[in-house]
Amino acid sequence: MKKHSPIPPRLATYLLLSFLRDDFKEDVAGDLAENFEYDLRHSGVFHAKFNYWKQVILYLRPFAIRKPKNYASNPMIMYRSYMRSAIQNMVKNKMHAFINIAGLTIGISVGIIICLWIYDEVSYNTGYPYFERNGQVIQNVTNNGEVETVNVVPWVLGDEIRQNYGTDFKYISMASQAYPRVMAIDTMKFSRVGFYVEPDFLQMFNVMAIKGTLTFEPSSILISESTAKILFADVDPIGRSVTVDDASFEVTGVYKDFPEHSRFGDVGFVAPWSRYVVLAELEKIDDPWRPNSFGLYVTLDDKANFAKASLRIRDARLKKVNDQLAKKKPALFIHAMSDWRLRSEFVNGQMSGGSIQFVWMFGLIAAFVLLMACINFMNLSTARSEKRAKEVGIRKAVGSYRSQLITQFFSESILTTFLAMVFALLVVWLMLPLFNSLAGKNMVLPWSDPIVWGGVVGASVIIGVLAGSYPALYLSAIRPVGALKGVRSGHNASLPRRVLVVVQFTVSVLMIIGTSTVFLQIRHGKERPLGYNTDGLIFVPGATAEMHSHFDAVRKTLIDNGAIVEMASSVAPSIGMWGSSSRIDWNGKDPELSVDFAQFVGSYEYGKTIQWEVLNGRDFSRDFPSDTASVILNEAAAKYLMKEEVVGETIRSRGEPYTIIAVVRDVVFGDPYESVRPSMYYLSRESQYFLNFRLNPEKPAKESISLIEKEIKPYMTQQPFSYEFVDDSQSRKFGNEERVSTLASTFAGIAIFISCLGIFGLSSFVAEQRTKEIGVRKVLGANLPHLWILMSKDFVLLVAISCLLAAPVSWLVLRSWLEGYEYRVAIPWWIFVAASVGTLIITIATTSWQMLKTARVNPAATLKVE
C-alpha cells in the first residue's frame, strides 16, 4: 500500500486557481502538480513546497491571468443607470438619505476643519529656508532636585560658543527678549515688538531688504515693512532717526516682514546686539555667567546634527559658573526649530509635548467623528438590506453578477459622499470664521490649491468606499432564492450592526466624560484660592520717578475721595514674578541644597493692597523704618527653613541679611495648576514700574478709574494711561485650556449628535420592520408601555454596554492626563454615572419617537397591508 504522500500546498493552489484563466486551469495545475512530484522525488518536501509556491507566483503573468469579463457593451450607460437607481433610492427613502448625507456632511466638515487646524499647527515656523537647521540653545537646570528647562541663557554664552564650539555651527546669534517697546519719531510714540540681535541672525532667518541695506552699525536699526508703513507712511524711512527705549537709532534698512505664521511674526524691528550690550550695561554684570535672560539661536553646519552638537556644547556653561550655580548642573542643548511649536514643553528635561498633543488629539477626534458618520451609513444600509434584498434577488435572478452589484452599491455610497462633501465644503466655508474665533486662528480654505481639490475628491472616494464597503459586500452576497422567498436573515446578521453601534456610543461617552473632566479641571484651577483678592484689584504700568515722588500725596487724595481703599507700587503685578534668586542662605541650610526663591519687591502697602493673608508675624509698616531690611516669606519658602518658628529668623539674600517679619499664605502668581514657588517679599522705597490699586467696592469701578487717571496723569506723561484688572489677567491664564475644551466639547457634541442620528435611523427601521408584529401583539392585548419597553430594550442594552466600556478607558486616559497638573481635580465618580445616564436618556428619547409612532398605530391598519 502506498503511503500517503505530501500534496502541493493548498493555499498556493487556491491562489493559482483564483487568478488563472479558466482554459488554463487544468493543464497548468497539472503541470505544477507534476513538477511538485518531480521535486519531491529529487529534492525533498520542503524544497518541493517552496518551489511550488515560486512556480505559482511566477505564473502571475499577463497572459495567464483571467481577463475581467466584459459585462456591458456600453459602460457609460451602465454607470448612468447606477446613478439613476442611486438617486431613485435616495428619493424613495428621503429620511435615510437625509440621515446619511447629514451625518457625513457633519463628519466631513469636522474632518476638513481639523485638517486645516492641523496643517496650521504643523506649518508654524516653516517659512524659513533654514527651518530644518535652525535651533535655539536652551538649558536644563536642576532646582530643588527637579529638572527645569529654561530657554534663556547668559549673555556671554554666544561668544563662548562661537569661540570654543564654533565648528558645529554655521551661524550664531544672541538675541534679547522680543517684547513691545516704545518707538518714537519726533513726538509720536508707537509700541512695536522688536529685539536686538547679532548680524548672523539676518542670514539665519532670511531677513530680506526691501529698501536700504541690512547694515548693522551700532546705531542702525532695521524696521519691517509694516513698521515702516505705520511710522513713516509714505515717507522714505531710510536715514530717519527713531528712538527706542530712549536710545536713538538711524533707520538703515527696511526688511520684508517675517512670515506671519512664525515665532518672529510680530517682530517689527531688529537692532544690533552690540548696541544692546551697551544700553543694558551688560558688561557691568558682576558675574556674567549667572543671570539667564537672553536667547541664543544657532544654525547647524551642513555636517553637524542636533544630537551631536547638543552633546558637545552641553557643559559650556557648567564650566564657567561659580560653585554655587554648578550645583544646578546647567546642561545646554539645542531645541530644533521644527520642535519650537510642536514640542515646546519639557518635563524633567525631556521633551514632553506641546501642541503636537493637540494635533494628535484633534486628529483622533476627526477620525472618530468621520468613522461615526461612516458607521451610520453602514448601519442604515445594512438595516435596509431586508428591503433591498428583493431588489438584489431580482437583479441576480435576471443575470447580474456580484461584481456589478458591488459596483452599484459603491456608486451609491460614493454619490452620497460626494453630495456630503459638497455640503461639507459649504458648511466649512460658513463656519470657518466662527471656528477661527474659537480656536484663535486665522485660517482660510485654500480654494485655489489643486492639491486640496485632489484631496477632496480622493477623500470622497475613500470615504465612499469605506462607508459603502460593508453594505456592498454584504448585500451583494445575498442568495437570490432565499431573498426572493423572503427568508429573513437571522439574528447573526444584525451582530455587526450592534458592534458598530457599541463602537459609536463608546466613543461618544468617552468624549463626553473627557470633555466634562477637562471642564472640571479648568473650573478647579479657576476656583483655586489664590491667597489674595483679585476682585477690584487693578494695576497700571509705567510709573515714573516723578510719580513716585508724589506717591504719598496721590495715595492720600485717592483714599480720601473714596476711589480706592489702598494702593502700592511694585516691580511686578501680582500675577507675575519679578525674578528669582538662588543666592539665598540661612542658618542651618543644607550646603547641598540648591533652591530658587521667587523675588517680589513692593512698597509698604503692597500686602494690604492685594489683601494677602498674614499667617504669622506682621506686615510691612511705616512705623518701622528698619523694614527695608525685613522680608516676608510665603508658606512654601517658610517650609524650606525647616524651623518651627521662622518669624524673627535671619535670611541672607545675595549676601545681605534680612529679618523675617511674617509668613503669608501662598500667593498663586504663576501657572494656576502648579504649586506655588517659594517666594520672598521685600520692601522698597524706590521707584517701581507698576502701581496697584484696590478699588473702593462702594464706588463704580469706572468712576474710580477715571479718578485715578486724573490723579496720576500729571506725573506719568510719557505713556498713555492704561490699566488692567487682575482677575482679567488671571482668567487669561486659562485661555489655552479653555479654548481646547470648548473645541473638544463642540466636537463631542457633534459626535453624540451623529450617533443619535444613526440610532434614530436604525430605530425607525426596526419599528417599520416590526409593524406587523406590533399589530399582532396589540390585538393580543399588549399595551403601549409594554411595547415601548420591548422595542427600546435592544438599543438601551447596546448603549449600556458602551457606557460600561467607556468608563474604565476614560478613567485611565484622564488619570494620565491629569497627572500633568500639580494642582488637579480628583475625577469624581458621578461623572461616569452622569455621562452614562445622560447618554441613555438621549438614546431612549431618540429611539422612542419612531417606536411610539409605530406602537400607536391601529393594528387594523397595519395588519391588512399586502
Binding site: D27, G30, A33
Partner: protein, 116 residues
C-alpha cells in the same frame, strides 16, 4: 534583411517542442528539457508564457490530452509546431547561416555539417 519575427528564447523553446515530440511537449517537460540542455533554471510560467505567445503568432498549436495519475488525472497541454512555425524556424536558421558565411574570418573555412 529578413525579419525572423522569432526571438532567441522563442526559437529555443520551439526547437525543444520539436525535439520532445507529440507525447512530451508540454510546459513542464519543456521547462525541464530547457534546464537540462542549458543548465539555466526557468519557471514553468515563463515557458508557458512564451508558448502562449508563439501560439498567438501561429507557430505552434496546442491540444489538451493524456491525463496521468502523477498529475492528479489532469490533462496536459501538448504543443505541436505548425507548418508556419516550421517555415519560420527554417528561415531563422538560413538567415543565421547566411550571416555566418559572410563573417570574413570564417568565410569558406567554416562549414555547418548536416544542415544545408
Amino acid at each position: 534583411m529578413i525579419e525572423t519575427r522569432l526571438g532567441d528564447f522563442e526559437e529555443t523553446v520551439m526547437l525543444i517542442v520539436g525535439i520532445l515530440g507529440e507525447k512530451e511537449a508540454y510546459a513542464f517537460r519543456i521547462s525541464k528539457a530547457f534546464e537540462q540542455r542549458t543548465g539555466r533554471a526557468i519557471s514553468i510560467g515563463a515557458v508557458h508564457s512564451t508558448l502562449d505567445r508563439l501560439e498567438t503568432k501561429g507557430f505552434v498549436k496546442s491540444v489538451l490530452k493524456q491525463a496521468t495519475s502523477d498529475r492528479g488525472e489532469r490533462k496536459k497541454r501538448i504543443f505541436r509546431i505548425t507548418a508556419l512555425g516550421r517555415r519560420v524556424l527554417k528561415e531563422s536558421m538560413d538567415f543565421k547561416v547566411e550571416l555566418w558565411k559572410s563573417y570574413p574570418e570564417f568565410a569558406g573555412k567554416f562549414s555547418i555539417t548536416g544542415l544545408n
